[in-house]
Subunit: 192 residues, 2 copies
């Protein structure tokens, strides 16, 4: 999506360790107009798939997800992160390793909010190793629902999580796909 | 706001300890159409106040805040919660006690995203003791900005945080104001 790629080129910075800092418009500080354009593109890409629910993960996926939910007229569920092992019987849970924070979180969703009749679109801001998407797919599978696919704001293609998941049959649409980064520049997939 | 009060009456439940569970439509599982109507009402209430930025706190304030930002054409910043004392020089931080979770969080905002020219509207899902709003106001004051007011989805009036802050001069608009709760029923302020 050219609008997003242009914004990353203009306002993104690359930090040591392969971390792309785009928190001036996509998380921490968010541009609602840009996010709403992105949500419209997601709705266009997945509009014919019979999606009835959006699933994301706190915190940074929530803003895009609620706008996708509005565009697709679906409720939006976010999986909650919990460091605690004190998990009740009333939730589905999975484990997600965070690349950025070097931690493992349990992610939980109340059983009330996922069911075997659901057709779920996952929405998240970043795709790198694919850990978050694996966790969300696991939650949907536990509920017996259908994981229709995933809409991602920014995919770091060179970390391979997306392509591994596509090879497993997951449909993933990323609005910006970064093929390579060095300390100063970002190269998008279409530019290689 | 009648739409929200009706929904609370229909789908909300009161848990022991004075916790109102409305996570089937306002957090955890969110109704984007309802939230967007609420955002429109916030924009109507604060539209003439020269607000240039929305400030909320992760995670449950983000969905309403991004829709308010879209309605008011303002960027949206969310304060991040951190249990860590490892706070850098590049952030403003404050402490917020959570009534629901019985914990204290540091909340931090990068200094890049708050400035002395900002006119800030705080947005959050709940107002009970007022701890979160005090923390957000503290962050704005540290930056030298103007705290224009706060828009809240659900205020628990009987916990007095809102009225204490109003007595200090804060403008607070709550879309639903709960005057009393027992194990079965919620009584709104207009019904007393």
């Amino acid at each position: 999506m050219k609008l997003l790629e242009d914004r990353i080129r203009r306002d993104g910075t690359v930090l040591p360790g392969g971390i792309l800092k785009i928190d001036s418009f996509l998380n921490h500080c968010m541009d609602p107009v840009l996010l709403n354009e992105m949500a419209g593109e997601v709705a266009r890409l997945f509009g014919s798939m019979g999606v009835n629910k959006i699933l994301t993960i706190e915190s940074s996926g929530i803003a895009l997800a609620i706008l996708v939910g509005l565009a697709m007229n679906c409720p939006v569920v976010y999986a909650k992160k919990s460091r605690s092992l004190n998990i009740s019987d009333n939730v589905y849970f999975s484990d997600v390793d965070s690349y950025t924070h070097k931690t493992t979180n349990h992610v939980v969703v109340s059983k009330e909010y996922l069911s075997d009749t659901d057709r779920i679109l996952a929405v998240d801001d970043f795709l790198a190793t694919g850990a978050a998407l694996r966790g969300l797919r696991d939650l949907v599978n536990q509920a017996g629902g259908e994981f229709v696919g995933a809409a991602i704001a920014v995919e770091k293609v060179f970390q391979n999580g997306g392509n591994d998941l596509r090879a497993e049959g997951m449909r993933i649409e990323s609005l910006a796909s970064i093929a390579a980064m060095d300390d100063y520049t970002v190269t998008f997939a279409g530019e290689l």
